[in-house]
Symmetry: D4
Subunit: 218 residues, 8 copies
Amino acid sequence: MNFDIKFDFQRRDRLGIIEAIWGQDKSIDQLKRLSESVLSKNEVVFITRINSEKANYLLDLYCNARFYEQANCLIIGENPNKIKTNKKVAIISGGSSDLPVTLEAKLALEIHGLNCQSFIDVGVAGLHRLINQLEEINKYHVLIVCAGMEGALATVVGGLLSQPIIAVPVSVGYGVSKNGKTALYSMLSSCSPGIAVMNIDNGYGAAMAALRIIKSIS
Amino acid sequence: MNFDIKFDFQRRDRLGIIEAIWGQDKSIDQLKRLSESVLSKNEVVFITRINSEKANYLLDLYCNARFYEQANCLIIGENPNKIKTNKKVAIISGGSSDLPVTLEAKLALEIHGLNCQSFIDVGVAGLHRLINQLEEINKYHVLIVCAGMEGALATVVGGLLSQPIIAVPVSVGYGVSKNGKTALYSMLSSCSPGIAVMNIDNGYGAAMAALRIIKSIS
Amino acid sequence: MNFDIKFDFQRRDRLGIIEAIWGQDKSIDQLKRLSESVLSKNEVVFITRINSEKANYLLDLYCNARFYEQANCLIIGENPNKIKTNKKVAIISGGSSDLPVTLEAKLALEIHGLNCQSFIDVGVAGLHRLINQLEEINKYHVLIVCAGMEGALATVVGGLLSQPIIAVPVSVGYGVSKNGKTALYSMLSSCSPGIAVMNIDNGYGAAMAALRIIKSIS
Amino acid sequence: MNFDIKFDFQRRDRLGIIEAIWGQDKSIDQLKRLSESVLSKNEVVFITRINSEKANYLLDLYCNARFYEQANCLIIGENPNKIKTNKKVAIISGGSSDLPVTLEAKLALEIHGLNCQSFIDVGVAGLHRLINQLEEINKYHVLIVCAGMEGALATVVGGLLSQPIIAVPVSVGYGVSKNGKTALYSMLSSCSPGIAVMNIDNGYGAAMAALRIIKSIS
Amino acid sequence: MNFDIKFDFQRRDRLGIIEAIWGQDKSIDQLKRLSESVLSKNEVVFITRINSEKANYLLDLYCNARFYEQANCLIIGENPNKIKTNKKVAIISGGSSDLPVTLEAKLALEIHGLNCQSFIDVGVAGLHRLINQLEEINKYHVLIVCAGMEGALATVVGGLLSQPIIAVPVSVGYGVSKNGKTALYSMLSSCSPGIAVMNIDNGYGAAMAALRIIKSIS
Amino acid sequence: MNFDIKFDFQRRDRLGIIEAIWGQDKSIDQLKRLSESVLSKNEVVFITRINSEKANYLLDLYCNARFYEQANCLIIGENPNKIKTNKKVAIISGGSSDLPVTLEAKLALEIHGLNCQSFIDVGVAGLHRLINQLEEINKYHVLIVCAGMEGALATVVGGLLSQPIIAVPVSVGYGVSKNGKTALYSMLSSCSPGIAVMNIDNGYGAAMAALRIIKSIS
Amino acid sequence: MNFDIKFDFQRRDRLGIIEAIWGQDKSIDQLKRLSESVLSKNEVVFITRINSEKANYLLDLYCNARFYEQANCLIIGENPNKIKTNKKVAIISGGSSDLPVTLEAKLALEIHGLNCQSFIDVGVAGLHRLINQLEEINKYHVLIVCAGMEGALATVVGGLLSQPIIAVPVSVGYGVSKNGKTALYSMLSSCSPGIAVMNIDNGYGAAMAALRIIKSIS
Amino acid sequence: MNFDIKFDFQRRDRLGIIEAIWGQDKSIDQLKRLSESVLSKNEVVFITRINSEKANYLLDLYCNARFYEQANCLIIGENPNKIKTNKKVAIISGGSSDLPVTLEAKLALEIHGLNCQSFIDVGVAGLHRLINQLEEINKYHVLIVCAGMEGALATVVGGLLSQPIIAVPVSVGYGVSKNGKTALYSMLSSCSPGIAVMNIDNGYGAAMAALRIIKSIS
């Protein structure tokens, strides 16, 4: 049998996409070995969903490690291949409970060299909070909308603005909205056309979707 | 054993609440016998979820029967005990696909003597359609909000107006919003406080909840 | 583009609706900053779903803070704009396990100036417990019914009394009734007409729905 | 390998339990061949969930066949081994929509020689209807309770009477109660102790559970 | 309005049914007050789903309290009104992981004066273990079958023996059988006729269902 | 109260976004009236999810109507405001069963003036089919991936190419993949970063998401 | 970019695996074109899930087409590359309602040249039916077990015999077992070790899994 | 009654299948007693899903006990009846998070005497990692594929290689893929024919399925 195949393995590096390390199900030992492997290639380490205990262990090991506690993310070193663009991303969210997801997206964008701005606490229960900032938000080229509960924010934003919109359901809530599935389904069912949706709490993924768009623009 | 009990069985009649007949799972013969039983007590017959075939059969039998095809409802006779009130109900809905539920609620209110007005096609994807009618809607004492898809309309209305709000999820949609459960969960999870929710497509129930409120006001 | 909009932002305050702070997903630091912001406007702070650890931290900070442990609620200060009404609310529940939800509703009503009375342990497995108190319950203008397990209490009360009824499913139970969804579905499917339903464990929301009704009455 | 096994194959016949034929997924041809096989052993044929088309085909073939259209059951011949007992079964149901399930249970009991009585339309929305017949129902030895929607009837009966109770959820309803699962979960979660539950719409199974009990009594 | 009603409240006591106290969601304080209330009426206290911490607190208070740790049950005092019968119950289970549910059922039966015997580890993966004990099991009048995983034991027992069978799904398993719902659905779908099913892990309820049957026999 | 608001209602038209009419839940009469309303504004009519019967009725009425049967779409007239761009969209799908969704997306893109190309039958079960066309697909600026069953195609494409990717789960399949939810969840869970997902069968929505991106590029 | 890849495309043909055409979601026209394409390569056409209407159309076109109505399969021509083996497969099923799935598996095996034998109606409710045929079944090298309802047959067979077992849940049943998911979960949760499971109703897939095993044996 | 039955109870031992002890729901005391019972028959003890605390207790008791922490397995003694074969099993997995399941399968194979090799981190997001090892993997006779998230690895492997494939969904992920059900459904829906699936995280079961196949080969 013949499986001779020649992929262009350098493509990934040239594009400046960092492979994040998902910290949640990994042991401290696994995280340490993965980090060493990445650093040995002069790449930046970007770990998501890491808790304080694991983070502190790595902070002791690497002097150039930074732990972003509210985002549950840890970064070691710098990304040598940041994208250069004047396009920027707005991250809009309904409440302070969405903060960890919002911040994960923000870090994932910034580590790739993208500018972004958070617009927090613009939930639809008080519509004026969103309306007041609409003109400012409209200056951004891609919109990431994070919301838990019933996730109506994505629909309202999508009905008012014409940019690419990436919606991220957040697992904030209780009862029927406990695990974020209500926000997910609500966003998928949005009557505002053209809203694309990520998995629950997937701030990193939303940033990567925005990155794919920005790269295709730039 | 002693089950001696003395209920006040006349209470129901005095309050003017009509017991609707749920037509969906009943045969023509069952509907005919139930109608005769109700008419023999000089009460009005109100059948919900009745299809054209069953309705036509009853229309042939009773000259004072009216079939409301879009509402899937049939009424025979008149309600002799209508409530007297100047309080009125607004029924707000997002699209023409919500019409059957909206109309079922409307008929159920009117047969009890309540005034109501429909505000159709005020979905949140085009927010201005709602904003334009907000002042008019604000004149009503109880608001029934019917919406399918992601049901965000209830949240937006609930954030702008202070009346009692009864939300009815509608089984319009496809994919994850196919059977109305996304709208139901979205409404239950609303970040606008104090929105009470009915079963999917339960226009009649929403009308009865409004009736309970109006009666307690009047 | 033109987003010039003039909302009546004072409306909310005039109506005396307090915006509760949902304590569950917020850090101590977030709660502290939110409380300070509310207090600086001479408003009362009302935090729901707060645990003992966070509550004790705030109790140390604010001498006029009260922690209601069974309700998982904390209040700082007094509401300067209580509603004035002689209408009152009954909170009916099936068992002592429903207590946290019942008490959250009670606190949310009282902080707005509403009178309310709890009727505990009137579950339908022993119907006489409910029947014995029916005459007393009938004196109240709005009924909140809290129940876990199969939630049949809402149906029985709804069949006997004609007031507005707000049903709150409670996440008490095990097996198929573990997370309160059976009670929720049971209440939504009630064969007693006009029962409006809140999200699981949403005692605060039920109080706000009652407040909307009482305000429309008064 | 040695699988020598000697079961007591006559046991089944001696006990007088008839093996029902489930008609729904079987072709007319399969039903005909199964019927012939049963009749050749001088047994009675009992087919459940058979529609009119299939039933009419068999009615043409067998002069001693009876089709019970409302029960969706067809019987050919007589059961030669009926049980002899003075114990009897009450079948209690909430509404006329539960009729097919109620009648399937009734036929399944009677074909085995058991006396039973139906108590229809005693739903809990109007509690007096049940209370009025409680003394009569109490004369029966096993109670089968059929209910759709929220299935609260089983809980109320189970709290008032001490007989063995077999609850059958019925797939009547819409929205969250559409397929009978809400009634099923409600009955399983009943706060009245000792209520045993069958699969949705399983009237035949409820009758067999009652038969197992009656046989152990007699 | 007239709610004059005269129930026969002594009926419950005369029948010797003990109202169990569900310990899981109750605080130590609530359990203490409920126990005192029951003991003051010279009744036995039977608490289910109580953990070691709460149990030890009550053991310190009441010298006649016994804690059954594997069953998660605590009993204070003796039942003065035990039923007198020579009928007995077999509790059959598939594995040692089902023990807590099996023991809860056993305690609930014995406190009411019923004889019962456990048949443990007779799962269907090794059919001979069941076959070997079939003749012994057949001497019992009511069979309680507890099983987790796929719950096939109920079907196999129900196909071999003709007694009343009460099936209890157990929340043992992982993946798709994690919470006991697979065992529940499997038992409800059993192709062996007349198997009645309880809520997941409801050993107490199964005992009460058996008690209802035994009382109707005796 | 003051709801004075000045939206820029012309914005929608200038951008050339057509509001599609969802034909599934609408009557022929509703479709006719909506079409007339749109045509009176010299706009193109674009109806999705319309069946042959309704389509034929409209084809009789409007000589410039075209019915695309495989796409379940009907178009009346021409779009006067097509976007001008040299960016183009590739629509990749796994099998001929995905055709209706693929074609709905294609029509929705073309009616807005976008160039697109379909790559059909490149499912991952035979990976070479995809690999063979990879170089060609790589020339497109936005990729729409439609797949039913387990939806793995999105992951494989997302791992090989760096464009913006919009994944559309298709309701093709049976058993656990019957309604498209498996494909939906699979796409949301993709281990290839930055894949954004639409509701099941939402070809129109995917086209609008692509349009939002292309507009932000152009 | 460089996607130069050299797969061994002849491998598939040499192994004699036929690519079945899934007929359910395909139009007559699509089926005709696919058939022509396959026949032009001198391959056999094997269509599954085809209804009578589509089948009759193809029967008219191709004189060497055979329609297996109970299996919902159509075959055109002969497989020129049948596998040669003396290993054989037993297909065991619980009832005549499982017939379509059983027959689909049988046809899929035979078209590849494998010997197989069906053992029908050996459900576990009457265990002796299985025990009686155990010695005969034990002569086969791979066992396919098809069962609906609670699917216990797979567990019982898996506990008695040591061959590779492929379990196929069948969508026969009602209530909680309506769509085959209970059988699927039951089989996945089997306490008999080493039972591998296919999608619901996937007789063809089970045959291919057996084929993979037989090929690795032969 | 006559239950005389003669099974061939020695068959199990002769085949060398070890009955694993499922450690998760068992107490230390139960594990100790079960281990003693197995050791007394000179059999090897194989405990799965055992945590460190329980394992350490048993390590203290038995000097020939080995705890495999990453696999959550503990083995005491040696298997005296290992199978003799030159057939071998490849275990392929997508990421280091799948390690516990992969290792459980590996231990379960090796304790029975089977050779196996792990191929880790060959997820489909980077297809070249799999392609690079395809020729090596092709040398193995049975393939076990472990994957979480969207589980696409099984489909890709199944499309490239012709061996028997046993897919194990892994409960790694978050949001919609949290509990492994998305991977399970994805594998069951695979468009690659003949992939057989185990319960979520069931590494032991996959090994036993492989063992059944290898035994039938050898």
